[in-house]
Symmetry: C2
Subunit: 268 residues, 2 copies
């Protein structure tokens, strides 16, 4: 049983975005070991079909199981939204339901906006999760395909990005949402531009804090076994494509946490 306790937690995303989730988990659970997998050879997921996203997700979960993880956190919203189509016997956490739960506690007028990739919007995963909590919720979705490329271009402080964000958010503002789910791991980087567009009256929900709350609960209840806290946990950083930029951006996002050298893995 001692061995089981020392198994790592796997975190996977289509690319870099999930590192914001990983960082929140590492800070909340400093004694856990983590393995992060970025599927950078097949990024992005959000513009692809649910069949293809489900196939990639299944392979990534199986790969993380081969590295002996005790649970897999699917940090990518697009992958989370197709999990019902994925065959797996792993303990899998998605970011959709925790995010919906947090939004449900925040809204007062029951009008909730969701910005996400095209795939996540098509799956209506947030709509279903929110309606399961309260049938009276009005959920307004907006696909924002340009936001990920803008973040990857490093233009998050650019006036052009403000224009694009404003364009996408205008329909949601006009229906008077009071809560907005940032339904893609890249979007928290754009909080400045998003805040400018929606004003101070709208609450923002990001996946990272929501998933931390859920894991805390499962550690408390015993559903998830904690690692014996003999020493600080370790991190393995894996990606499916080689990239110098990945290493640098990982260091920037995870700072001040130490970042190991990237290991490139081949997943077919």
């Amino acid at each position: 049983v001692g061995l089981i306790f020392s198994q790592p937690i796997g975190v996977f995303d289509s690319g870099l975005g999930g590192l914001t989730v990983l960082k929140a988990l590492m800070i909340a659970f400093p004694y856990e070991d983590f393995i992060y997998l970025g599927d950078t050879a097949r990024i992005p997921y959000g513009s692809k079909s649910s069949t293809t996203i489900a196939r990639y997700t299944e392979k990534n979960i199986r790969f993380l199981q081969s590295r002996n993880v005790k649970a897999v956190v699917v940090a990518c919203n697009s992958a989370s939204s197709v999990l019902p189509q994925v065959q797996t016997d792993a303990l899998v956490y998605n970011v959709i339901e925790p995010g919906a739960l947090v939004a449900a506690t925040m809204t007062e007028n029951k009008r909730i906006g969701v910005i996400a990739t095209r795939a996540t919007v098509l799956q209506k995963a947030y709509v279903q999760a929110l309606e399961k909590i309260d049938r009276e919720f009005q959920v307004y979705q907006q696909a924002c395909p340009l936001l990920v490329p803008l973040v990857e271009e490093g233009w998050e402080e650019d006036p052009l990005t403000n224009l694009v964000v404003y364009r996408y958010l205008t329909p949601l503002i006009s229906v008077q949402i009071d809560t907005l789910i940032l339904g893609c791991t890249h979007y928290p980087v754009l909080t400045g531009a998003i805040r400018k567009a929606v004003g101070n009256g709208v609450r923002l929900v990001d996946s990272a804090t929501a998933i931390v709350d859920l894991l805390k609960k499962d550690f408390s209840s015993g559903k998830l076994a904690p690692r014996t806290p003999e020493s600080t946990g370790t991190l393995h950083l894996l990606a499916t494509d080689v990239s110098d930029a990945f290493q640098a951006q990982a260091a920037r996002i995870l700072s001040p946490l130490p970042v190991p050298a990237l290991e490139v893995v081949d997943i077919h």
Copy 2:
């Protein structure tokens, strides 16, 4: 020998962009059979490493060979730029060298601009091809990662797109290029915005016309065997991801040519 003449020509791209090349080929060679392959499950190529792009390219060429093609036109500039790393015994055409040849005949002041994906810029394939033609050419490259997502979002007529295009082209205008290579199959769709940014003094080179010229030459010389012109050629349209949008956009790009139903194929 008769059988060989009736083999189709394979055309491949990471997605839809190469359909502009396919259309030019179908109009120039109406008696040829074509097989088009869009690797939409792994799009985009332009932001990935040369190793990964070369692996995908090799697999796609091998797949087209299994469909008995007599030649493969690599319409994707990012894939074309890594062809030296690809192992193949197929007759392969890339879009880089024909584009460089056309640009070389157009320039007067020997200052040539290239806009392309990050991968194509990193490989310096256009720089090398142009310098091989004339050592005195000054080649200025600019990576434009946001242009493909803007085209995919359908914002080609949008003021925002003009702003982004202007931002990318300003450095090239300031060094007084007189010829600009559109080094990605998506960019011809943005000709309006690009023309607005560079003015009328700059000549634009797109891959489609350049590759048609080269194939004409190879048909004349006998390097490439033409199909017996008994009837108009056929088209097979393949993609690696399912997508309703692909079918609709293919019809729009290829119009008025007839478009067959999309066949989804699995390539690992």
